[in-house]
């Protein structure tokens, strides 16, 4: 897709500054929603003792995923370089079908809209969605 403009990057950083304190909650909620709306995504977590919303594994993993998003914000000027190790992890170890990155991105957007309705305007939404799409692309870089 399209590359991030300076305006996009500034918008993403401004949004992140507002929402980052709630990153753990956002991550846990996004995962819980993803499992509810797209049950096929649960296939990656069959080794978890508990996949229910609010459970230990969901909360811990939500925190981990948003930690990854925080890292992406920090390396927004070079996502492919900055996320190389994470791409290798997802490609060779986790083997997550990249279509799922779009699915999780949508759920993250829903949670941000739900928790920060005044901040997640259409203009902020498009910049953040472009960012998540760029992160997804960088995460897919090492797949083949």
């Amino acid at each position: 897709m399209t590359s991030l403009t300076d305006k996009d990057k500034a918008t993403v950083k401004a949004l992140w500054a507002k929402i980052s304190k709630s990153a753990d909650v956002i991550g846990a909620d996004a995962l819980a929603r993803m499992f509810a709306v797209y049950p096929q995504t649960k296939t990656y977590f069959s080794h978890w003792p508990d996949m229910s919303p609010g459970s230990g594994p969901v909360k811990a993993h939500g925190k981990k995923v948003m930690g990854g998003v925080a890292d992406a914000v920090a390396c927004i000027d070079d996502l492919t370089g900055g996320l190389q190790a994470k791409s290798e992890l997802h490609a060779f170890k986790l083997r997550v079908d990249p279509a799922n990155f779009k699915t999780l991105s949508h759920c993250i957007n829903v949670v941000i809209s739900n928790m920060f309705p005044k901040d997640f305007t259409p203009e902020v939404h498009v910049a953040f969605d472009k960012f998540l799409a760029s992160v997804s692309l960088a995460l897919s870089d090492k797949y083949r």
């Binding site: 957007n109 829903v110 809209s113 309705p117 259409p122 939404h125």
Partner: protein, 147 residues
């Protein structure tokens, strides 16, 4: 045929009974045109829509948003045969409007995000799952007459 639990029927009926169409319709369409700008291709006759500000203030877009949202009413009223209920609209979108069916998903995602903002804590994961299942069924029905 799509199976709906009593819980799912209740959720959908509840969302639409309390829906402010005049608020949500315009918001969903505007967001779709801004977040997925290629969808603007169908609105060149609506006047100025080339910036987010122009889209936000365009009355024709707002009116059309209300119309499109009411387009979901026939699904709410015909939960047990949504496919048949949308035959006519599917032909319209395919043969007259020439809308790429992928665009229906763009609008669905934006509508979900607008509803999430409106309903706040009430928009649980289960409610989202039911709402997205409902929209997916409508989107599929709208695609049946494309050849």
């Amino acid at each position: 045929m799509v199976e709906w639990t009593d819980q799912e029927r209740k959720i959908i009926a509840g969302i639409f009974a309390n829906l402010d169409y005049n608020d949500i319709g315009p918001k969903a369409l505007r967001r779709c045109l801004i977040v997925y700008p290629w969808t603007q291709r169908h609105f060149s006759s609506y006047g100025s829509i080339n910036t987010p500000e122009a889209i936000q203030s365009n009355q024709k877009i707002a009116d059309h948003g209300i119309k499109v949202l009411h387009g979901l009413d026939r699904a709410v009223k015909n939960m047990d045969n949504i496919k048949a209920a949308y035959t006519e609209l599917s032909i319209l979108h395919s043969e007259k409007l020439h809308v790429d069916p992928d665009n229906f998903k763009c609008l669905s995602d934006c509508l979900t995000i607008v509803i999430a903002a409106k309903l706040k804590d009430a928009f649980t994961a289960d409610m989202q799952a039911t709402f997205q299942k409902f929209l997916a069924v409508v989107v599929s029905a709208l695609g049946t007459q494309y050849h």
